[in-house]
């Protein structure tokens, strides 16, 4: 698995950089598309996973759902950051500007800010209700994902109109479509691996917190928890 992921990413890189034909008007700089678009789709899927896990957490307060929610949000933010960096790097040579406040770009930036806020809330807040508040934020935050996706269909934007399922006149050269889909598959597998790692880390953190809480309960009253005390089993009043 650990060798298959770099091999798949390498093959995807080859397809995007060399095998796919250069776009007629933009030239080679259009190849940024093979990283930009799959990163956006992967971020959407991560945010969906965060949404589903948050709903599950609100329903049953399961620690696994909470761990999956935070892991998916973090990986989603990483992929969304790639989208927000590669987009302007494509826009500068093609549009002549780095950024414009059109519906697609603005809603994507808002999406990134929503999930950064979610992660900050989880990191900074220490109250016992933090996971519940974060899950509620995640449920409402996910509403921005369809807005981002549909923004280029509902509004006239500087951002290109959809090339896949975009109606008459849209479409991709078959080799370009293959490069796009293989890159997406490669990023999905990579994201799955990173998500699994982040989930495992969060479960370990939960174990640390549980051990600390258990230890604090076992400390005798008056010790203030400043000094380590041996655990007392079968304690009586």
């Amino acid at each position: 698995m650990l060798l298959a992921v770099p091999a798949l990413l390498g093959y995807a890189y080859y397809l995007g950089m060399y095998a796919a034909p250069a776009e007629a008007s933009m030239g080679d700089v259009q190849r940024i598309f093979y990283y930009h678009v799959p990163s956006a789709w992967t971020a959407f899927l991560c945010f969906f996973a965060n949404f589903a896990a948050s709903v599950a957490y609100l329903a049953n307060r399961g620690k696994r759902a909470d761990a999956l929610a935070v892991a998916a949000a973090e990986v989603g933010v990483v992929f969304c950051s790639v989208v927000l960096v590669t987009g302007p790097l494509w826009a500068r040579p093609v549009w002549g500007i780095w950024w414009t406040w059109d519906a697609r770009l603005t809603s994507t930036l808002i999406l990134w800010l929503i999930y950064v806020s979610y992660l900050l809330l989880r990191k900074v807040s220490t109250g016992g209700q933090t996971p519940v508040l974060a899950a509620a934020l995640a449920v409402f935050g996910f509403l921005d994902v369809p807005i981002v996706y549909l923004s280029i269909r509902f509004f006239r934007t500087q951002h290109p109109q959809p090339v896949i399922a975009g109606g008459e006149g849209s479409g991709l050269d078959p080799m370009m479509a293959k490069a796009l889909l293989v890159n997406w598959l490669a990023f999905l597998v990579f994201a799955g691996l990173v998500l699994a790692l982040r989930y495992r880390l969060e479960r370990l953190r939960q174990r640390v917190e549980e051990s600390r809480a258990l230890r604090a309960e076992e400390l005798p009253v008056g010790s203030c928890g400043l000094e380590a005390q041996p655990a007392v089993s079968g304690r009586s009043a």
């Binding site: 080679d28 700089v29 940024i32 960096v85 500068r92 990579f190 051990s211």
Partner: protein, 42 residues
């Protein structure tokens, strides 16, 4: 023009590698904390 393409690919992997490094640090810290807690509980 081509420099923007290379820059985009480079920045993409820089972001991913930086995140993997952060995860690695996180694992190191949490495993250390777990070991300390287990030692104290003995």
């Amino acid at each position: 023009m081509i420099k923007f393409l290379y820059l985009a690919y480079a920045v993409t992997w820089l972001i991913h590698l930086a995140y993997l490094a952060v995860l690695g640090q996180g694992f190191k810290r949490v495993k250390e904390e777990l070991r300390e807690l287990e030692e104290k509980n003995r």
